[in-house]
Symmetry: C2
């Protein structure tokens, strides 16, 4: 039944990357369906019963290998969509024709999230080869809209809530670790609100000599607006933005002190000569514990070579906020929109579009000072197995840290289906997520497959 | 000797526009040489002796029809280069395949400056047909770098200073009139400094989740920088910027009150609901008498559809300042550069490129309270003839107004060769200069040819 394809994870990953599954861009429908069909094919090879759940955009893959309902039941989550690949000219090799250089495999989605999915699937294939009757209920959930904020996932959760809430917890590998030998079990994710603001001044571009003076330039209006959104101390300058931010636990700050790598090494890695964390947070803390309002792109007016002396008609900015517990994305979305609307000057019209949003998430592992009572036993077992097996394979105990990234559906799974997540990171900062030359470390891939085979085995009690 | 081509000015202009002579973009060399050769051909048809003066970029056409050195001697100036045509999708017809709709001819360069050049050439052709021995020395100067700030013109002026300074004055039609029946004799032009600032933060685009917090986002740094360049009252916020600005003459403010069109009509024309002139200037005054610092284009980060949650590596802005007498462009360039450099935050590197610059210019017509002593007689005659002939043909006396646009070489001609300019406007705001759907009014073209035939005839005393 099971093909030999799982014995070559590197080739599997190359093939998966070859489908340009960019969810943000409507020109990539074929890439999305190709990636989806590829992962469906692998799940079917592992004897999963696969259902394709249609959504307004990119369908969700829901796959089940269910047996005795008294067995533990895990959900494994991943996403088959990827970030856009531009600027393409900064890639050293083709973004969708993966290439191995050294111990890395380069391609868009290599680390986020196709590589980690191949790790899970190969670990499971190896285990099922040895234990075809593995006493574990497994539900696979692979979505296609993660990189655009999972807009269809809440409706899916509502529709399948009854089904999904029977599971014990969710296993995810879509978070970051600091280095090849230091795995992190991620205990929190930032939420996200992303929106776009377009400002319009005059009805068309104007000659800046014949009209420059009285006309409100949309670029200037946008610069003023953007500049107004942070204080001089780097905090987000919107009333109420920090209102619901929870204080950081002492053990979290202590755990972070074990984090390898100094601020100077971090500077060197990014090639910057200074950092500017918001007031009250250290450099490393600000990524994990502080909310942000970030500008992801802006544009307006003449973009070509040399000069063109125009006052442009329009200017836009793409904004995303990262949120921390217990900020609510809907509330922050409203605050940001209202702040922007109230700061648009006369002479300019604003159009604000919300692209997506999701709540932040925190899970407190077993045996911490504030661990909640009555955690699900299978999840407690998973945390314990993970700590042990990671130490065995990687040579070091994992750290328990919140992370700066967002996987918005993790909070949704908790809010709607009552499911917590055990998040075991597999990619490193060197993997260049969301950037040119994204890659995945083949050593981590190998060790990851071994680790997950053991953890899943532990959960099944085999 | 003279072909019939001058009898169809509309066809001549269509042909001239068909050469895409975009000086800002190095991809348009062929369009520039095509336009240059076309105008050379026309001058040769009118028996001019043509010299092509090489420059580092686009050669200058220098053409002479000289006779008795005691005749009056005029220089006629124009430029064969045009602005870039983008955004191309906003044009109703092809930018370089001119089309007549109603009484307008649409195409890039129709009004700026190819149409007015065709007016001069046809007027001269008509006159020379009647008076082949016209007792007037004429030097034609047609450059190809006006739209990028004429970077080669100063060197040309130095090289040909002796030659050019023998002329009496310069005749130019590269300025604006408010309507089809109200011609303006332009008494001043704003100067120009244009530059580009590129800010670099991290060495490549970063995942805004994994790194958002401590990293200084170049878009935010650029927004702060741009926002800092104006005060809340709309004045340029750079120390010393206004230091050399001359007070406006009373007669200039009074002349401006005769200007047709209300502020409400201007709002409606541009489709804006409010203006924001700098403190101390009315809406109409600010265009003509106030210096500006304008953002012509900016960009950075993700430009595609939807969202991409990156912190970009780079962001840029294109800036141009319009200057008024007696601001000096070199001094303003230095002030602006220094202000920008001093405002770049830690964590960001700035690269500033200057694209071009030119001084502002003022000429006071005869019989005004502060008219200087000893103005050149031929120029005084030209002002008088222009006032009379414009009134005859257009039905209204011209207004004497400074204008917001820049023709940097006009100040250079004064500074280096001692030549003042008589500037008779021929295009209107409806002509959409530097913008999509640029056009030229064919009624003005017709009346302009008649007017210039009479003025040039008057100067020659025929």
């Amino acid at each position: 039944m099971m093909s030999e394809s799982f014995s070559n994870p590197e080739e599997l990953l190359k093939k998966y990357i070859s489908f340009p599954s960019i969810s943000a861009d409507s020109n990539y429908k074929a890439g999305l369906s190709g990636a989806r069909e590829f992962v469906v094919h692998l799940l079917e090879e592992l004897d999963f019963h696969v259902e394709i759940v249609e959504t307004p955009l990119h369908p969700i893959v829901l796959a089940k290998r269910h047996g005795d309902p008294t067995w533990p039941h895990i959900i494994i989550y991943g996403h088959y969509d990827v970030q856009p690949a531009d600027p393409l000219n900064l890639w050293s090799s083709s973004a969708f024709h993966a290439e191995v250089r050294g111990h890395r495999l380069y391609g868009r989605g290599a680390a986020d999230n196709k590589g980690p999915q191949i790790v899970h699937l190969c670990a499971l294939a190896n285990l099922l080869k040895k234990q075809p009757d593995l006493p574990l209920n497994i539900t696979y959930l692979i979505e296609g809209e993660e990189e655009i904020g999972s807009p269809s996932f809440s409706q899916f959760l509502k529709d399948y809530q009854h089904d999904l809430s029977r599971a014990d917890f969710v296993l995810v590998s879509d978070t970051c670790i600091p280095s090849e030998d230091q795995v992190v079990i991620t205990t929190g994710l930032r939420g996200l609100v992303s929106l776009e603001v377009e400002l319009t001044g005059p009805k068309s571009d104007l000659h800046s000599g014949l009209h420059g003076g009285p006309v409100v330039n949309p670029i200037r209006a946008l610069a003023d607006l953007c500049s107004s959104l942070h204080t001089e101390k780097g905090l987000v300058n919107i009333e109420g933005f920090y209102e619901d931010v929870l204080p950081v636990e002492d053990w979290e700050r202590e755990e972070l002190l074990k984090f390898p790598g100094s601020v100077d090494e971090y500077k060197e890695f990014l090639d910057v000569d200074a950092f500017f964390p918001p007031d009250g947070y250290s450099v490393h803390e600000s990524v994990r514990f502080a909310p942000t309002l970030e500008f992801n792109g802006f544009g307006g007016g003449y973009q070509g070579e040399g000069t063109k002396t125009v006052i442009p008609s329009k200017a836009f900015v793409k904004i995303s906020c990262r949120l921390v517990s217990n900020q609510e994305s809907k509330k922050i979305e409203k605050l940001v929109k209202e702040a922007i609307e109230s700061r648009v000057p006369a002479g300019i019209r604003a159009n604000i579009k919300v692209h997506g949003e999701g709540n932040p998430y925190v899970v407190i592992p077993p045996n911490k000072p504030n661990t909640p009572e009555g955690q699900v036993q299978a999840m407690v077992d998973a945390f314990k197995s993970a700590e042990k097996r990671i130490a065995e394979v990687f040579g070091k105990k994992p750290l328990y840290l919140r992370e700066g990234g967002s996987v918005p559906i993790i909070a949704d799974l908790k809010d709607v289906a009552g499911l917590d997540s055990v998040m075991i990171g597999l990619f490193t900062p060197e993997d260049n997520l969301h950037a040119p030359d994204e890659s995945f470390d083949l050593n981590i891939m190998k060790k990851g497959i071994l680790t997950f085979e053991k953890i899943i085995g532990d959960l099944a009690g085999v």
